[in-house]
């Protein structure tokens, strides 16, 4: 077995993961705050106003990174859920389940900021076009996963049932992404493209990418923190948790 697989195997064990996550989390959080500060300053202060929308377009520095995260976190949740279903690794179950609230929060932010922008620009808060509707379905999928997880008493069975729902819901991801191409929608098409030129000036693009990085780092930090707490809660009474609690318990 090579070093990387060995390391991954070790990381799957709760005590190792707990220590690793505790060590990495502050760095991720600090990097997220730094990238977020740079991105927001660049987006809200340095970037020029848009030729059509004026300053109102600046909501994209929140809206677009959040929307990307909504999709990205769902993919992470489904991947972890797949591992949990096939290999029955406890850590994968916890990671999948702790992804859901973070993803739901980002999706909610996407819907709210989009709505705030839609009223002055489009002339409506909400419309049932394919992009908006599929994004709302994404939020409901997240809420469904969270709800199912907490509806079942046994933590591990609950995680597997919810992971299955998460995996089925992955069908919605291409629908959200391609809705603006497949159907006539009120929502505009993609501005930033990985392949081919983006339809945005470089002075507006870099703060957007900085914000995308910041949200990714924040997701990492938040997920590690949540997973640590969930691990402690589930593994309570095991030797390694007791060993962690001992020094504090023996203090006067």
């Amino acid at each position: 077995m090579n070093t990387l697989t060995l390391w991954l195997h070790k990381l799957g064990s709760p005590p190792t993961f707990y220590r690793f996550a505790g060590a990495v989390r502050p760095w991720l959080l600090a990097a997220a705050l730094l990238a977020g500060a740079i991105g927001l300053y660049g987006g809200l202060v340095l970037a020029p106003a848009d030729y059509q929308q004026g300053d109102a377009y600046r909501i994209i520095f929140i809206h677009v990174p959040s929307a990307w995260m909504g999709l990205f976190i769902y993919a992470c949740m489904a991947a972890a859920g797949f591992v949990a279903l096939v290999w029955r690794i406890k850590l994968a179950e916890i990671v999948a389940m702790e992804c859901a609230p973070i993803g739901a929060a980002f999706t909610f932010i996407t819907l709210v900021t989009g709505s705030l922008w839609g009223k002055p620009m489009w002339g409506t808060w909400w419309t049932w076009d394919a992009r908006l509707t599929s994004e709302l379905v994404l939020l409901f999928l997240y809420l469904g996963v969270i709800g199912l997880y907490y509806a079942i008493e046994d933590r591990r069975k609950a995680a597997r049932a919810a992971a299955f729902l998460a995996l089925i819901g992955i069908i919605n991801l291409p629908i959200v992404h391609f809705s603006v191409q497949w159907w006539n929608t009120l929502h505009q098409g993609s501005t930033v493209r990985i392949l081919g030129p983006s339809h945005i000036a470089p002075s507006m693009l870099w703060p957007l990418l900085a914000m995308a990085l910041a949200t990714k780092l924040y997701f990492g930090a938040s997920l590690l923190g949540r997973a640590r707490v969930a691990l402690l809660a589930q593994e309570g009474g095991k030797d390694w948790v007791r060993a962690l609690a001992q020094p504090e318990g023996s203090r006067p």
Binding site: T124, I175, I200
Partner: protein
Amino acid sequence: MNPTRKRRMTLVLLIVAAVGIAAALTVYALQQNMNYLLTPSQVLSGQGADYKTFRLGGMVKSGSLQRDAHSLRVDFAVTDGDHDLPVEYTGILPDLFRENQAVIATGHMDGGRFVATEVLAKHDENYMPKELAEAMGKAHAKHHVGAAAQEPTP
């Protein structure tokens, strides 16, 4: 990989694939029904006849916008490049509404006119600073003039 895990993996992948195919077929079947809007060409070819109210989408035709001096009523034509359709609307228009802007109007046909109850402006995917847009506009205009000058006059 041991047999149990292999079996579980096959099962999970099969179910996801089955649901994926079902979703793809549904999306494909809905393709026609899920149209958010009709274009002027589609309306003029009679596709709007099935609906009492529907959404009309297209560009506001350049030079067609007329505002009533004493009320909120506006008249304009929506075009998709091939055909135009006259539209009337009474109410407040969104910020992005202007000539040559993509709009989506909800309403019904009244004779040959489309009476809108709501007009939404569709934003395109381009973001750029004002200076750049002006520079590009100038370059564009120059190009137009240049192209027109090159055309042989009859």
